[in-house]
Subunit: 354 residues, 2 copies
């Protein structure tokens, strides 16, 4: 029986994507070969790569707006390094909203001065710092648009004239946005886009022209852009499956439709967290993530029975990250409204046992 999958990542993907991906591992498009045994230089794979890139630009409204989409390897962790290696001339600004920003800052420090523009560390990163002045002499400003661990999300972008760089690993393709506000944004595939193993980078061509040139080949955005993400053998299966997920998203009605779907799920879950006497939300209400709802047991409540209930109810991946504790319901694009409602039912069932 299929689980209700609330995993923070790798996480739920649409069922038809899984079916098509599995079929392609057996045989791709009736060509007598599996997807995973064809050359990445074959016309079949080149078509997959080009379609994935085109869909990524189309869904973010950036087709013909001077952006390129790259499919790379190494996850956001490699992007922490690549953004700084390519863009840092002397100093860059970072808004620190927790673990992922921390890691990005650590890697950037190798390449220049990091100015922590703001941080929400004072309250264990349960909010998004707002309203800060952004110096105009920074090489760039880096933000993490959604923090999976703490369940916070930028609902408005910081205003700045310097290039805006974003780690969107956990909320890319989840909502409408003026994506042209970003000069470069990146995302590990394994939340809303596909299986672990590829990283999408969308970068403004005018920014590519200003990047540092003395960068190792595999870390150079310009080399990957020049080679159409084929400088070396790309991760074929993760890219194919990402293409399938982006196709699915387009069929659903794109970001406008998925945003509505995601808001409906988030409303269900957060309303229950606020109503239910057994739980309390972790993140500040105005900064709550539409992707990861973090919540703890109310004071004095023993969660043993709740853990038994949701495990028995075919729910998976609800345990909170160790730095927050409690629970985390990740409600990514592919999660159904029914699964969100199912969780709410179990939360209510638990409340009745108190």
């Amino acid at each position: 029986m299929k689980k209700h999958n609330f995993s923070a990542g790798p996480s739920i993907l649409p069922a038809p994507v899984m079916e098509k991906a599995a079929a392609a591992v057996q045989e791709l498009n009736g060509m007598g070969l599996s997807l995973i045994e064809i050359s990445h230089r074959s016309k079949e794979f080149i078509a997959i790569m080009e379609k994935a890139q085109a869909l990524a630009l189309e869904l973010t409204g950036l087709t013909d707006k001077g952006y390129k989409a790259l499919f790379l390897q190494g996850g956001a962790s490699t992007q922490f390094l690549m953004t700084a290696a390519n863009l840092m001339k002397s100093k860059a600004g970072y808004i620190n909203t927790g673990a992922w920003s921390d890691k990005a800052i650590k890697e950037a420090k190798r390449y220049g001065e990091v100015i922590e523009i703001a941080s929400s560390k004072d309250k264990n990163f349960n909010y998004i710092p707002k309203g800060q002045d952004i110096p105009s002499d920074l090489d760039y400003l880096h933000i993490t648009t959604n923090n999976t661990i703490f369940g916070t999300q930028f609902h408005e972008l910081p205003q700045t004239d310097v290039p805006l760089i974003a780690d969107m690993s956990s909320d890319i393709f989840s909502r409408q946005f003026d994506y042209s506000a970003f000069d470069l944004f990146y995302a590990g595939a394994q939340k809303n886009m596909g299986p672990a193993g590829t990283t999408l980078v969308i970068v403004k061509e005018s920014l590519l022209a200003q990047m540092n040139t003395d960068v190792p080949s595999m870390l150079s955005y310009n080399i990957h852009a020049d080679k159409g993400s084929m400088f070396n053998t790309p991760p074929v299966f993760p890219i194919y499956t990402s293409m399938l997920t982006l196709e699915w998203l387009k069929e659903q009605g794109g970001l406008q439709a998925i945003e509505k779907h995601n808001q409906a799920k988030a409303k269900l879950v957060y309303d229950e967290i606020d109503r239910n006497a057994a739980f309390e939300g972790f993140a500040a209400k105005e900064d709550r993530s539409y992707m990861n709802a973090t919540f703890n047991l109310a004071e004095g409540v023993d969660g043993t029975a709740f853990d038994a209930l949701w495990n028995a109810a075919n729910i998976s991946g609800l345990k909170g990250h160790r730095s927050v504790g409690g629970y985390r319901a990740s409600i990514y694009n592919a999660l159904s409204l029914e699964s969100a409602q199912h969780l709410v039912n179990i939360m209510q069932e638990f409340e009745k046992t108190l």
Copy 2:
């Protein structure tokens, strides 16, 4: 109808591996979830990672010999950079056997002095340079054990006291070897191990202890080793499928059995290249690769009819690399003796048309 797949990489994998991988994309081990939607911190995936690592060490005879197996991202191209970033103190030696060595040298030059110990560039890399003196003050010596493009392979290793580092992307797990001669060897998965998207690194623990410490996290062997290849989200599907391929290889009888199988296929193909008046081999006979047989048309022979023949005979991936031209039959582990014989038959059929 299934093709006879002679692709140089990504390349043929065993049919049962493809079946099991496809099934896991639908559902892993009856757990109600797809392989690609479970957390990499789940006990199910940790077991997969540990099994893949254990099999890699077991098959190379390095279990309990002071080595660690890592599954990383970024292909051999990232290893060109990582080996130098971690190991170069002042100078390193490289034996240049063509394109892949060239790329490794280029990246290493960012980190110190590169001494090209020997090169076969004078004959378009159609042989393996031998017998050179290796200075004893090098930080390491780097070789490419098999060159996919030119179809050459080291059949004896250079004798040296300095740490021996090898790019084994295209012949790992293909033959018996004293793998303990290497201090570090690496391979992109997409030949004998699995689909594109993960890179196996096997490294001596005593070498880890001597590595440079000021290395970006994602480029640090020590960080990946300390974290059991889970510093960040690993490429789940490529690692699972690699584990399946290594299991298959063990079931076949390991490296002893596969070497025999590979030698039989190579003998079939090379004997035909040498016998057939329509073709001539590219690589020097004593340095011929057991993985990639490169051959050209004999002088004055028009290949149009041959191309039509093999295409019609359900053969795939036989076109040579542009720097050599002609043909390349990649006869990796999973290719059957029947496929090799089928190619030989077609070569003979072509000869009769001359």
